[in-house]
């Protein structure tokens, strides 16, 4: 063990907290090294001198003063958790309002609204070809495509027992 190692472990050695193996190593070194031995003796004397300081006694009313200070503490109120600090409540309310405002008027929200309108328009445009095509409109089959899907209309079959009427309505007065 070197002198630096002894210096590092000198306090645990002097306060008897070093383990027995370390103690033996240090004692071997101290027996062989006069400088470290002298230093250890001075440390021991300084350590012992620190005991020459009398204790200070707390004042007689120490406990009473602690009790007074505890009694002076504000009492916790049962509804305190329901009613937070006014500043905190105001801050939370403002943050909430700000959050709602941002959510309502933010570009993303507006974009979503616009997208929804566009989707409706697209559906209408899809049906536009059918609506505007008169040939298709004359056929009931095609019209059935425009009927709501939840209440499908049965296709109307032309009655074969009835004579078909000419489109111009003529030929009946012969």
């Amino acid at each position: 063990m070197k002198c630096e190692d002894v210096a590092r472990e000198l306090i645990p050695y002097l306060d008897r907290r070093a383990n027995s193996a370390l103690r033996m190593e240090i004692e071997d070194h101290l027996a062989a090294c006069a400088a470290c031995h002298a230093r250890a003796q001075e440390f021991r004397k300084a350590w012992t001198a620190l005991d020459d300081v009398p204790l200070v006694e707390p004042s007689l009313n120490f406990n009473a003063r602690v009790r007074e200070r505890i009694a002076a503490e504000p009492r916790p109120r049962w509804f305190r958790w329901l009613v937070p600090q006014p500043r905190l409540a105001l801050s939370v309310a403002l943050l909430l309002a700000l959050g709602l405002w941002v959510a309502r008027f933010s570009p993303s929200a507006r974009q979503e609204q616009t997208s929804a309108v566009k989707a409706q328009d697209f559906e209408a445009v899809k049906d536009l070809g059918v609506i505007e095509n008169l040939d298709v409109l004359t056929k009931f089959d095609a019209l059935s495509e425009l009927a709501p899907t939840d209440s499908p209309q049965p296709p109307v079959q032309p009655d074969s027992s009835q004579p078909s009427q000419p489109a111009d309505g003529g030929g009946g007065d012969m």
Partner: protein, 202 residues
């Protein structure tokens, strides 16, 4: 059989104020002395010690025994002492061992024939010199020495209070005791007779 400090504190948490009184009686003297050695003012030390107990009481509902009770207690005390020293630095009473003696610490005029009083005065001066030597240490070293020497805490506990590693604490203690060895060298050259059974040998 006495309850452990942790059990006492858990009892306090459960609403048992008598357990708080037990802790108060047990630790008021060590705390006042620790704080007195930190701030070197009796009134301030008492006030800070009361504040420590007040904070312990305030924190009782949230107490969980994750460490030794004394570690928690002296950590609170250390923080309060360091804050107090820093707050009062402008009118700090930290005095170097070479600094002139303050007015209230000036040696009294003693009658030469009163040897008993003379001895008492010598002991008082000796104690005062030692206190000053300890007080002149840097704050962290001072806390380490006080907890190690006077509270006899183990290294792990002191390291937790000071928030450092054990090896760093050993270095800190070595530097502190090295300073004290040098500062107290003239004093230990003239030892006073120790009262038997009062001191713990090293």
């Amino acid at each position: 059989m006495t309850s452990s400090d942790v059990q006492l504190m858990l009892d306090v948490k459960a609403g048992d104020d008598a357990s708080f009184d037990v802790l108060l009686r047990k630790y008021r003297t060590p705390l006042v002395n620790f704080l007195y050695r930190m701030v070197r003012d009796t009134a301030t030390a008492e006030d800070l010690a009361q504040e420590v107990f007040l904070r312990v009481y305030r924190a009782r509902k949230d107490y969980s025994p994750s460490a030794k009770f004394t570690t928690w207690l002296f950590r609170i005390a250390t923080n309060l002492a360091l804050n107090s020293i820093r707050d009062n630095r402008h009118r700090s009473r930290d005095v170097s061992i070479d600094a002139p003696v303050e007015e209230d610490e000036a040696p009294l005029e003693l009658p030469a024939r009163e040897t008993r009083i003379d001895q008492q005065m010598a002991e008082r001066d000796r104690a005062d010199t030692i206190r000053r030597a300890v007080t002149s240490l840097p704050e962290k070293q001072r806390v380490a020495v006080l907890l190690h020497k006077y509270e006899e805490m183990d290294y792990a506990e002191i390291a937790k209070i000071l928030n450092c590693s054990e090896s760093a604490l050993k270095s800190l203690l070595f530097r502190a005791y090295e300073t004290l060895r040098v500062q107290l060298a003239p004093l230990v050259a003239q030892p006073v007779a120790h009262r038997a059974g009062e001191r713990r040998p090293l």
